[in-house]
Symmetry: C2
Subunit: 354 residues, 2 copies
């Protein structure tokens, strides 16, 4: 029996998460998996009921599950709160830290039928299948911060980018393993010509390399990587990098697929893993049956694979998604002439019946 | 009499800089400007002669000039040296710091005849004219760094991202002024939902805004900006951001123009300003009359404008470059069917005769 904490969150999270749960139920029935879903409140709902976007009950629920399925957080109402109560800082970051989720996996796969959806030319994005691994609990986001008034009356603010060898090793090993299971090409991204933390990062990656003789490791400066992801994205298989660089590059790379609505993510590292679409809560289209549930559904497939080792079910979901696209079904974010326009629920249904 | 320090540097720098100097001489003759060129050694040549990539004589030469025209640094030979003697760290960063060049201006303009050169679709890049302002002497690159051994034997490395209000104000004012002189739209990029330095950055920008009522200021998170630069680059006029974010975003944005060979840059802030192409020294094509000199020539135009206030000459150069492209002349990096292929020198000549 696999226990899954389900946190729909805000906005379209409330529509897309139920579709993903329904897909998981369908797969569970077909392959005789036992999955147990337990819902929890996060962000606005949680704040209204408990006065905090991540109440202890929700954190407990997550801790006592094997995996968490998260929709999205962020709403106009929550944006009015002081920064330290907003869902990003009060729920998302603590959830990552508390659950020890040091590795964020963001696969960017361009499906053939969607090849025209990107602003990049079809020949630049065809066949793109990149896995970005972002370190998620270290670096600038979590290092010591300070604000102080200087003698001359001006202010100074400071963030710290810190990494220790064990922190780099654990994400490094994950990246090498992932590359070994894929096409064997690993690009480690840093700014070792300027940053001390990047030099330690690079040294550590180089030290790990002999343990993975099947993997071809290379290094790229982050500025160059941002350029190469536009110039020739087809050169990449697996990219591994620190928190901030990974934040920027993974969002940039997501545009190769045309719509954020297609991009799943997994955050791993601790006993419990977290799965969520790469996109946000999109308050502007919430509640209108317009949102694309595929990123969440594909995140559920990642859950079956990474948390439960249920590869067959994961593939079945991924194949169904590819089939639905082949058959011409499109939510509004992907709609083009000649295709069949469907809403959130109909899209979920199309996946389930395949 | 305007004094210009000319540092060709490594690789193709030795071919493209003479073309830019020749263009400046032509313009000077036409408009009766008096420009004096004084050459200096940097990187490999300097290292061979003086044992350091930025010898005191070169630094003095720069200090005593009104502007510096730099080719590019970086060569296979210099890459063999220990990091602290490599030209990036031993010449480029100190030059920025010593000359007080806190603002890096990177205009990204897509010329109509080159609209097909990008991996982005023509409709996504047509008419793109973005100015990226990167803070250049603060932040992670220059903040305190540390490497230490921890009690458990592992190592820890640390960089510091520091900004003070005056540092943000000066680049902020420059950005507001630039936006006012252009289309009036300024996007300040930060990660204020996570970083303390970004919060100070944002507060400072907001505080400056009332002084520039003609400018429409908005804020964007850096991850979103990296995404928007692919999704819809046409939305941007001026972007201002801190050192590391600017490094990444300006290199990414350069790909909108298809080739780095078209992109000039200016670094301002002190008494002396520095102008250089956005690309590197390209050792692989050096000495073969293959390099595109246009980025350096356009950097020379920026020099006339920003250092000497010679707007007429600046425009004349920019118009000549546009005309050469309209007339179908292309260096190899831009060559397409039906165009006239030219080398570095011929390209320089075509610009001069227009
Ligand atoms: C909301 C923010 C803190 C978060 C991050 O940068 O980690 C988001 O951008 C993401 O990528 O999940
Ligand atoms: C060489 C490096 C230090 C430099 C930087 O990042 O500033 C380069 O990438 C640039 O953008 O000029």
């Amino acid at each position: 029996m696999h226990q899954i904490a389900v946190l729909a969150g805000d906005g379209i999270g409330r529509e897309i998460v139920p579709e993903a749960v329904a897909v998981l139920e369908t797969v569970a029935a077909k392959y005789h998996y036992s999955l147990e879903f337990r819902t929890g409140l996060v962000s606005e709902d949680a704040y209204e009921k408990y006065g905090h976007p991540l109440p202890p009950a929700t954190l407990e629920l997550c801790r006592n599950s094997e995996a968490v399925l998260l929709g999205a957080v962020g709403s106009p109402k929550m944006d009015q709160l002081p920064p330290e109560l907003r869902p990003e800082r009060a729920a998302l970051l603590p959830l990552r830290k508390e659950l020890g989720l040091f590795a964020n996996l963001r696969p960017v796969k361009v499906y053939d039928p969607l090849i025209g959806a990107s602003t990049l030319k079809p020949e630049a994005v065809q066949g793109i299948n990149i896995l970005i691994l972002r370190e998620l609990t270290g670096g600038l986001y979590f290092g010591p911060k300070k604000r102080e008034r200087l003698a001359d009356g001006s202010e100074q603010a400071l963030d710290t980018l810190v990494y220790s060898t064990p922190e780099i090793e654990r994400i490094g090993r994950l990246a090498f393993s992932a590359a070994r299971a894929r096409r064997g090409k690993l690009v480690s991204v840093d700014k070792a010509n300027v940053l001390e933390s990047s030099r330690l990062w690079r040294e550590t990656m180089v030290r790990l390399a002999p343990e993975y003789p099947e993997v071809d490791l290379s290094h790229m400066y982050v500025d160059n990587c941002a350029m190469q992801l536009v110039r020739w994205p087809g050169q990449f298989d697996v990219i591994v990098t620190e928190n901030t660089f990974g934040d920027i590059l993974s969002d940039q790379a997501s545009m190769l697929a045309g719509s954020l609505g297609m991009l799943p993510s997994a955050s791993l590292g601790g006993k419990v893993a977290l799965y969520e679409p790469s996109h946000g809560s999109a308050p502007d289209i919430a509640g209108k049956d317009l949102a694309n549930p595929l990123a969440t559904i594909l995140s559920a497939a990642m859950m079956l694979r990474h948390s439960f080792g249920l590869e067959e079910g994961a593939r079945a979901i991924e194949a169904a998604v590819a089939q639905v696209l082949d058959d011409g079904f499109r939510t509004p974010d992907l709609m083009t002439e000649g295709m069949t326009r469907v809403g959130t629920q109909a899209m979920g249904r199309e996946v389930r019946i395949r």
